[in-house]
Symmetry: C2
Subunit: 141 residues, 2 copies
DNA sequence: AAATATAATTGGGAATACGAACTAAACTAG
DNA sequence: CTAGTTTAGTTCGTATTCCCAATTATATTT
């Protein structure tokens, strides 16, 4: 009668998920900061690594308002990391893509992230890490 | 020779951790927003639920600068969620604690969070969820 | 051709976060 | 016991992030 649907979740699992996520995010922020970037810029970079979306698409990916993305791209463009190119067929829409400079930033960032996150997994055996990767992978869309 | 220490991390696991974390954070933000709060305020609330730290301690918990926390508490205080009480022995230090109003906010928020995160785990069996909780738990400090 | 819809930008405003400078209280030396 | 230093918080200035509402310019519909 009083079971809330979708809420049958072991409190321990909830807590573990939330705490792990905060730990991961903290390290991601740290990695970003080490390259003078914000978390949002990091995400933007990761998205643009293999896509050249229009502004609205990028906004959807990031879960942000279009206007927020406008400013985000403004600043990134001013820093020379990304560029706007007018999307051929539709005169209104704009495609965003990484510049060579932006792309150059990527390997260092990826290494930095790996280096910061890896230690988190050190208390697990290799077999356990594989099992964890499998479980998390199955949870994702 | 060229193995970077601490970087022996399966790319799949790295990716799964990062993606899961973003998914969890998005849901946490959503839960916070549903109660007109920010993610940082949510964290603050969770910390104050079972602690009455001094400002500097709270800053350490949150990984923020002292000055950032000053403003955070200013606004939360103005909203009636927390209160500052001068810590007896040391005339400089201030203890932060939840008000009755702040405490009242908690159950609803917790339920909201559980309700939003639970669906993420639905693609796992109950046994798998337990294993996941165990693995994540062992990763945390 | 006029009305409507869509893509992005602009402007206003609040919250978040940092660093540097400041105030007040508490130690520490001499 | 006073002078200097450290510590706890706050304040100030600035940048970023984010939203909402209004605007501009191009497309689409009718």
């Amino acid at each position: 009668m009083f079971t809330r649907p979708g809420s049958e979740l072991d409190p321990e699992l909830l807590d573990a998920l939330v705490q792990t996520s905060f730990a991961v995010m903290a390290r991601l922020s740290q990695a970003a900061a080490a390259h003078d970037m914000s978390l949002t810029q990091l995400r933007m970079l990761a998205i643009l690594r293999d896509r050249q979306p229009k502004m609205a698409e990028l906004a959807r990916y990031l879960g942000l308002d279009r206007s927020s993305v406008s400013g985000l791209i403004d600043r990134a463009e001013k820093r020379g990391l990304v560029q706007r190119t007018s999307s051929g067929d539709d005169g209104r829409s704009v495609r965003v893509s990484l510049t060579a400079d932006g792309r150059r930033l990527d390997p260092g960032l990826t290494a930095e992230i790996a280096g910061l996150i890896a230690p988190m997994t050190h208390s697990l055996t290799v077999a356990e890490r594989q099992r964890l990767a499998g479980l998390l992978g199955r949870m994702l869309p």
